[in-house]
Each structure stands twice: as C-alpha cells, then as structure tokens.
C-alpha cells in the first residue's frame, strides 16, 4: 500500500473543498471496499478524506411519503430503520442480504453505490483488466466469467455490480444527491451508472470530486409490497449470482403497479423496465410473470459459463411475484 495523507472532514463544504480537484484523493467512508482495494494495489490514493463524521447519518421521511437517506447512514442502520422496513421492505432485505453484520456496521449508503466490481480479474493487479487499466483487455470473456454480466455488457467488460442495496434502490426510483465545489446536484439512479461500452473504467456520471450526500426515495405505495431474493453460491456472506427486487400491487387479478430490478446481471443494478411494462395492466398469474421476465431477458447475451443466469432470473421473477401476489411482503412462511 502506498503512503497517503489522511484528513477527517467535519462538514460537507469542507470535505468537497479539501478533495477539490485532486485526482489522487478519495473520500473514505466505511472503508470496506476502498481499504481492501488499497491493500490489493487496485486503488493507490495519495490522500484520504474521511467523511464518516459528516452529519449525513439520518434517515428522514420526506413530505411526500418517501425517505431521504444520508450518505453516511450505515447499511445496518438503514436495514434496521422502521420506516425503511415498513415502506420499502425489499430495501431492508437487500441490505441484510449483503456482506456480514460486521461489514454492514461499517459500510455506508454512499460507499455502497460507489463500490467496485468483485470481478476477480479487476481485483488482481497481476492480470489485465479494462476497468482497472483501460485498454489492457478483458480476460474474463475468454476466461472465468461464471458470475459475469448477461445484460448491458460489452466485449470490453463483463463485470457485474456487486451491490444488493442498489438493486432495491433501482427498483424504487432512487435519486442520488451530491455536492461539488460548484454546488449541489442530483442524478436519478437510472442515470447514475454509465453504460459499459468501451469505457468500463468510467463507472458513474458523478462529476469529478463530487461527494454523495444522500439518496432520496420517492413515495411509492407499491414498495410496501416488496421483497428481495438473492441467490449465491453459499447460504450467506457471498456475493449474488443473481438477485431480484420486486414489488407488486394486484387488484381484482390485475397488476396495477409493479417494480422489478435485477442484481448480478450487469455492470449496474438493472431496472427491468421492459418487464414492468409487460406486467402492468395484465393478469396476475405465473404465465404473465414469466412472459414479463422473458421480455426483459430477450436482450440477454450470456457467455458460455453464465447461460444459467437467464433461467435463474426468470425463475426468481416468477417465484417472487407469485409470493407477493399470494402472501404479500410477509412472505410464504
């Protein structure tokens, strides 16, 4: 690990000013991803600006019935918050499905959105990776890509975004707010992550030096009827190989509103808009759910090792929507 300077920011303008235009500086939140990547030599910042003490650690209801979540709210506090659990149960479930109790106590909402892929080529500086060293190549395409992307990827990168939280946030139209030296700004989560294309190293649309200050969730009555389901290669403490956040409002056998987002299928949490369009106004039955999933997955381009993700996501959609339809957010048990 390279030597670095360390400063603790006490207010948002101060943090933004200190980081300023220094491309070698990084904000330090919980450190669960950044410190790990620094040890691996993937990140080599010259300075860290610690933002954990910033007054951004509140979860507050908004006037319209949504929630405003501060950037330094820990994953644990977010998942434990009664209003999160009541209004967006899938969000609480998604957070709880990620990492471990220890890591959730450290990790922050802002950091979660900015975490880097766990693609094993990205985290190994002994191997090429377009995301880490632009132009060096993507060995995952010909190599190990069982947990690679099936949607929105390119020949330059097939890495998936590792966040569980982000999948639920995507389903619920989260808006990311940030601060720069020039003032505040906001980005819908749908616009927050950039397409992979031939620039997989450019991950977000945040301006240089921007500090995420929070995430706003608009009111969404359907979100109270939501669940998150994650599949991984062991029962806990592992990244997803596929996950789905779903919300469903059915009246008289007709889908009035629905939300769907997929995890571990793309370089970003994947909002399944085509599937939602297919669902809304149609019948609430397994065939319709499967057809909706197929509408989204029609664009899937799996590689040789990850064809399983297509039936996996399809089955998860059907299972989760069926569960919501029959049992609501309390689950099947």
């Amino acid at each position: 690990m390279r030597e670095f300077g360390y400063e603790r920011a006490l207010d948002v303008p101060g943090a933004v000013a200190v980081l300023g235009g220094d491309p070698e500086a990084r904000y330090l939140g919980g450190g669960t991803n950044l410190v790990d990547l620094m040890k691996a030599g993937v990140e080599r910042p010259a300075r860290l600006v610690d933002v954990r003490e910033l007054p951004l650690d509140r979860v507050e209801p908004t006037a319209d019935g949504g929630l405003r979540i501060g950037a330094t709210v820990t994953n644990s506090d977010l998942a434990a918050h009664p209003e999160v659990r009541r209004r967006y149960p899938a969000l609480a479930q998604a957070v709880l499905a990620g990492a471990s109790g220890q890591l959730r106590n450290m990790a922050t909402v802002g950091g979660n959105l900015l975490q880097r892929t766990r693609c094993a080529y990205f985290t190994d500086i002994g191997k090429p990776c377009n995301k880490r060293v632009p132009g060096s190549g993507c060995p995952a395409v010909a190599g190990e890509h069982r947990n690679g992307a099936i949607l929105g990827a390119s020949e330059h990168c097939v890495a998936v975004h590792p966040s569980d939280m982000g999948v639920a946030l995507a389903a619920f139209d989260a808006v990311v707010t940030y601060e720069t030296a020039a003032g505040p700004g906001m980005l819908a989560l749908a616009d927050f992550y950039r397409p992979v294309g031939d620039t997989p190293h450019l991950e977000t649309a945040l301006p240089a030096g921007a500090l995420i200050t929070g995430v706003t969730l608009p009111a969404a009555p359907v979100a109270a009827h939501s669940r998150y389901r994650k599949v991984r290669e062991r029962a806990s403490y592992a990244f997803a190989v596929g996950s789905v956040a779903a919300a469903l409002d059915v009246q008289d056998g007709v889908v009035r509103d629905a939300r769907l987002a997929f995890g571990a299928v793309a370089s970003r949490p994947w909002r399944a808009t085509a599937a939602e369009r297919a669902l809304i106004g149609g019948p609430a039955d397994a065939d319709a759910y499967a057809a909706a999933a197929d509408a989204e997955l029609a664009a899937a381009q799996p590689l040789s090792q990850n064809t399983y993700k297509v039936p996996l996501i399809r089955n998860l959609v059907v299972a989760l929507l069926t569960e919501l339809e029959q049992h609501g957010p309390e689950g099947a048990r």
């Binding site: 690990m1 390279r2 030597e3 030599g41 766990r118 094993a120 080529y121 985290t123 190994d124 002994g126 191997k127 060995p139 010909a142 190599g143 190990e144 069982r146 599949v231 290669e233 062991r234 029962a235 806990s236 403490y237 592992a238 990244f239 190989v241 596929g242 090792q305 990850n306 064809t307 399983y308 039936p311 996996l312 089955n315 998860l316 059907v318 299972a319 099947a332």
Partner: protein
C-alpha cells in the same frame, strides 16, 4: 504413587485444557510472540507462470524507508537441495532463491525485509522483477496427455473386463472433483531468531521436530542447533509443514542477525502452501442381479507439479471397502506447470469416496436395490485385496444404527417425489473409511516432587484436542487425576514424534505417552516414594512396540446420512440434516472427538457444495484466490450435524485408538450428492454442486421431457 482405584479419565467428556486461553485471546500463535528489534519479511511471488528471471532491480527498493535487505537468487546463501526428511523430500518450493527458474505462477522470487510490515509490503510491491517468459500449461482434465502410473499406484485382482462382461448390471460413470485449498484460518507464519548459537523458530506447523530437522539439513546445521516451537496452531489440515517462508526467514535472520517474521497473506497462502489436486475419476461396477459385485474398477487421475510427484491417491478407497470377484484400481498423475499439491484432510479418501460412493448409489438405483442393502451384500470378511484380517470392522453396525436414527426405513426410494413448496427433498447415504496407522514417537514423563507429572512430546495440537487427549491418557496410565498431569507439546527439543496428520496423531503420541507412563510407574515402584528435586524422568520410544503389531487391515469405518432440500428454480442446494455414525476405535474425549467428526462432516458438506479453486489457463494462476472467490461453508450453510459412534474394540491392539480427524469428511460429499439425486432425479457427478449445475440439470430434464 497410589494404587487406589480412580475413575478412568479416558471416555469422559472434557473441555480443552487451553480453552480458556483461546476464548480470552491469551493463546499466542506463531506471529504473536513479541520480540524487540523484530523485522518483517514480505515475499515477492512470480507473476509469470513459467520462465526465467531476467533481472531483479533491488537498488531502488533498498533505498525505500525502513528496508533492511532484499534477498533473491542473486544474493541468497546456497542451501542443500537433496534433503530427505521424516516425510520424504520437502516440496522443492522450500529451496528458495537458489536459481533463476520460475516453474509456476506464484514462485517465490524475492524477500523484502523492513522495519514494519507496512514498509515491507510497499517495498515488496515496488520491487521490479523482469522475466523471460516461456509457454506454460496448467490445464487438467481426464484426457490430458502425459499421465503416468506412479510406483505402487495400481492394484489388479482377477480380470475386470471379463467380469464386467459377465455382469447383469454395469455402471460406468465419470466423476470430477476440483482443486481444493486447506484454508486454515491462521495464515502460515513464522518468526525466526538466532539465540546463543541456536536457531529459534516460532512456527505454526503440524510437527515441530519434522520442521526443525528439515531446516537443519537444508542449512547444514547440527540437528541440535535448531529449535522449533508451535504452541498453538490455527488450523493446518495437511498444509503446515516446512514451506518457503521458513527458509526465507532463516536466511534473513542470519543475514540481519535480528529476529525476522514472515506472515503470509491469504493470497500467498493460496499460491505457495499446497492444495488438493483436482481429480478426474472413472468408476465401473459390474454386479449380479442380487447386487454381488463381480467387477470393481476405479481409475483416478490427479495433477502434480513438474517439481515433485504428489499423488492424490483416490483409487485406494475401494481396496479395503468392497469385495468383488475382480478388482482394478489405479491412480495416474499428470504433471503441469503448477505448485505441488499436498496432503489435505483425508487425502485420496475424500475425492475417492465421492466417486465410489456415488457410483454405488447409481448401481443400487440400476439394480432397484436399497443402497444400504447393496453395501451389506458386498461386505468383505477380510481385506479384499490383502486377504488380511481386519483388526475390527464395524461398518454394518454403523449403517444399522445410522439407519435407525435417520429413519431410513421410511424412505421412499423413488427420486423426485418429496416436495415442500419450491423445494425438492431427498436423502442419501454413503460409507466411509480411513486407515488407522501408528508411527514411532518419543515421549517423556517426569514425576515431579510435588506429586504432579509432566509429559513432554513433540505433538501438535492443531485444533484436534491432542493436548487434552494426551493429558487424560497419561492420567489413566499414571493412575492419577488429569489435573495432576501437565502436558507440554510442540517443542522440537522433546524429540522425534509423528506429526499431526494421517489421523495418526493421538494414536501414535498416546501410545508413546502411555508407554512412558507405564515405564515411569515401574521405575517409581522400584525406587520407592522419594522423588528427587529434579524429578524422575522416563523417556520411551515406540518404534519397537509398533513393529510388534500384528499385520492386519486397520481402518476406521462409518456411515454417512444426508438430507437435502433443493430449490430447482434457483439451483440452491441446502443440506438440512447430516448424521454420521462411526466405528473409530476407542474414543478418548467424546467432546473433542465429536467436534473432530462434525468438523470433518462440515468439510464434506463444504466440498459437496462450495469448494473450488479456479486457475486461468492463460495466466497460469488462480482467479479469485481469496475467501470471496474460494468459498467454504459459512455458518448458515451448516445444519444440525450429528456424529456418534458404535463400540469398536480390538482387544489385541495396545491402544485401541483409531483417530477421528479425517474420516468425517470421507463419504459426506457422496451422501449429499446421492441425496440431491434422490431429491431431483438428476445425478451430480461434478463437484461442487453449484446453483448453475442444478439449473442446467433441470434444463436437461425439461429438454428430455419435451
């Protein structure tokens, strides 16, 4: 010395002697003993998979803050390269910095030593090494060319092909197991210093005398000039013998004349401390309609390095397990440009039992026979190959007791008939066995003037409970209370002893301790009651006693039962119940023995569902060599696991202990895979049984049904 009757300590559940130290953090492991002037070493591993080092530019790194020295092939002292130790020639990876060749990815090319670990790490990462790369090949599969049959790796009885042809039912199936890593929670670490002309080594190993002698021989030192201690060991499982960091640390401590510590990173542990080879196995079974085996054929193939032959001897499993008219079993190895594999918990038996016990289940299905009944039908009365009698063989008692407790009689043998919601439920069974050996060991027992006893033996407690087991064995042999016995272990100065391996530790060390205790009692009887201030010490070696042991087939046996729930829509397999019933000789401490057996079964579960190291053939190195990439079971994967045992006595055996460290993993993965078949109707012949494999099997079924 009193002769009043005292209740036996052996057989009574007893908490670990060092338990309090372990739960309070007081127990110190290899890298936790403080030294003044301690320097930190950091290994630099090759980034290429084969070739030669062109240059190592250490000048810039030597100028970095805190850097004390940089060792590499250009400046390191020469060491011997023909050492044959207690367990054979050490893996040539220990002969560090002796030449410019790079035989595989992760080969140690340099050691950077600095005042702090942060400085050492940054300097090691800054060291520029240039290479002349050569083509490499790390591939492994059933058809790869270059495989050969090592010495004593093939057993033939009768004509397998003829018996297969004469069989009513034939099963021919191929199975694979992937590369697996020990992943002890404590990464390998060593601290070395010179003290008064002696090399002092604080280590994490499975045999301190073994490591000490190998080190002495490598550096051409008197055996008495090296002392290795390994008081607490944070897991080993076969991986903790002499490795390259020991040798590098001795070189650095010698040059700098100050204490040097090397603690490997987790990634380095993956790269340079050994692993279990992948296997590709083919099993062919031929049986009469009543299930009697006419032919048993098991061909196994594993990988080794270009440096040293290591055989993952999976084909040995059937040689004692089942009777058949004809038998052919063979291990083949194929070299590749990889690190040398090594022993890992139940080497051979773990992968071998997966193939054979899966095949037996498939044969039972073909025969329309209960899988336990098939095993009963083929139970031998003597060694199927050797013809020797078994010292004891209580496999059928294990099946009987296990079946009763598991409720096997109520099982519907048809696959894919039990459903609970989205999950299909199935049960499976497998047999297991592991050899029960003993190796010569030295123990000394001292009668102290205060009425207590001190036992000294170079045993290692790698989590097995050896320290506690030896205490109660000594107490009974001395006819005293365990509280009056102090067992000191893991110090090479205590003499030669077997290592913590092969499920032979407690048997071998216990034998030596009991023999020394018996000799001490005799001495004390002759001397009377007066104990001098220095105490009375008796030292005994068991070489002669072991040589007198009658030739028999000595094995532990067991029956493994598994229940699984498979969500065929997501591919998730959850083990919902495991029961193992074992016949493993005399159980010294039921509390820790059960932990060993349950731990082994947990490994079996983990092997069945999770573990798999992946190499990228282009780069020749691992992909995801960490605990996020290499999964072993987490708490949430592990259900209630029951382990128990049936009486298994051998009156002719002077110790009666068979060892419980490894048999728990044997057969478990097969029982789980058999349960997955029972749940889903699809055979899983390739480990681990990942969600994608279950989903693809479902897609295949749908394809066939359509």
């Amino acid at each position: 010395m009193t002769t009043t009757a005292k209740p036996d300590a052996v057989g009574v559940a007893r908490t670990r002697i060092e338990g309090r130290d372990k739960v309070t953090g007081a127990a110190r492991y290899a890298s936790e003993i403080p030294f003044t002037e301690l320097a930190h070493g950091w290994l630099v591993l090759s980034t290429i998979a084969r070739g030669r080092i062109r240059a190592i530019d250490d000048a810039a790194v030597r100028a970095l803050p805190g850097v004390l020295t940089v060792l590499h092939h250009g400046n390191a002292p020469r060491i011997k390269d023909d050492v044959i130790g207690a367990l054979g020639r050490p893996d040539p990876i220990v002969e560090v910095f002796q030449h410019d060749r790079v035989p595989h990815a992760g080969w140690p090319v340099a050691l950077v030593v600095a005042g702090t670990s942060e400085q050492a790490r940054e300097a090691a990462e800054a060291l520029v090494v240039t290479y002349d790369e050569e083509p490499h090949d790390v591939s492994f599969d059933a058809d790869k060319e270059g495989a050969y049959v090592p010495q004593d790796a093939e057993t033939v009885k009768g004509d397998v092909e003829a018996e297969l042809a004469a069989s009513t039912v034939v099963l021919d199936a191929a199975y694979t197991t992937p590369e697996q890593h020990h992943s002890a929670m404590e990464p390998h670490a060593v601290t070395v210093r010179w003290d008064g002309g002696r090399l002092e080594v604080f280590d994490s190993n499975q045999g301190s005398k073994w490591v000490a002698d190998d080190l002495a021989n490598l550096f051409s030192l008197d055996l008495s000039a090296v002392r290795v201690r390994s008081e607490h060991v944070g897991g080993a499982f076969g991986s903790k013998g002499l490795r390259s960091h020991h040798v590098a640390a001795v070189m650095a401590a010698t040059e700098l004349q100050r204490p040097v510590r090397i603690a490997l990173t987790r990634r380095q542990v993956f790269a340079i401390t050994g692993y279990r080879s992948p296997t590709a196995q083919r099993v062919r079974l031929g049986a009469d309609a009543d299930g009697r085996l006419r032919a048993f054929a098991h061909e196994n193939r594993s990988m080794t390095s270009t440096l040293r032959e290591f055989v993952e001897g999976s084909a040995g499993f059937g040689r004692t397990m089942y009777d058949s008219v004809a038998h052919h079993s063979v291990d083949r190895v194929v070299p590749a440009d990889v690190g040398t594999p090594t022993w890992m918990r139940a080497p051979g038996e773990a992968p071998g039992s997966f193939a054979v016990e899966s095949a037996m289940d498939e044969l039972a299905e073909k025969l329309g026979m209960d899988p336990i009944a098939l095993r009963v039908r083929n139970e031998p009365t003597a060694g199927p190959i050797s013809g020797l009698p078994f010292s004891s063989r209580n496999l059928l008692a294990c099946f009987e007791e296990g079946a009763r407790r598991f409720g096997w009689a109520d099982r519907d043998p048809r696959p894919r008939v039990r459903r609970e919601g989205n999950r299909l439920i199935g049960t499976g069974v497998a047999a297991c066995t592991f050899p029960s050996g003993a190796a010569p060991s030295t123990a000394s027992v001292t009668a102290e003037p205060d009425g207590t006893f001190t036992v000294r033996i170079t045993a290692a407690d790698v989590g097995t409970g050896a320290r506690t087991a030896l205490t109660v064995l000594a107490a009974d042999a001395l006819d005293t209370a365990p509280e009056r016995v102090h067992v000191r272990i893991a110090d090479s100065d205590f003499g030669a002893a077997w290592v913590a391996g092969g499920s032979m530790g407690t048997r071998s060390w216990g034998w030596a301790v009991m023999a020394a205790a018996r000799d001490l009692r005799e001495q004390l009887t002759l001397r009377g009651t007066e104990i001098p201030a220095a105490g009375v010490t008796v030292t005994t070696n068991t070489a002669e006693l072991i040589a007198q042991l009658a030739q028999k087939e000595r094995y532990a046996f067991g029956a493994q039962f598994a229940e699984v729930a498979v969500d065929v829509t997501t591919g998730e397999v959850r083990v919902t119940r495991l029961l193992g019933v074992f016949a493993a000789g005399r159980i010294v401490n039921p509390l820790t023995a059960r932990s060993q057996l349950v731990g082994g079964m947990t490994w079996g579960l983990s092997m069945a569902l999770h573990e798999e190291a992946v190499r990228d053939e282009t780069f020749g190195s691992h992909v995801g060599a960490d605990f996020a990439g290499y999964h072993f079971a987490a708490n949430a994967d592990v259900p209630v696991i029951e382990a128990d045992w049936v009486p298994d006595e051998d009156p002719d055996d002077p110790v009666g202990i068979k060892g419980v460290g490894e048999i728990g993993i044997v057969g478990t993965a097969a029982a789980i895979a058999n349960a997955v078949w029972h749940a889903t109707g699809s055979r899983q012949r390739h480990l681990p049984i990942r969600p994608d494999r279950v989903l693809l099997a479902e897609a295949d079924r749908a394809g066939h049904d359509a």
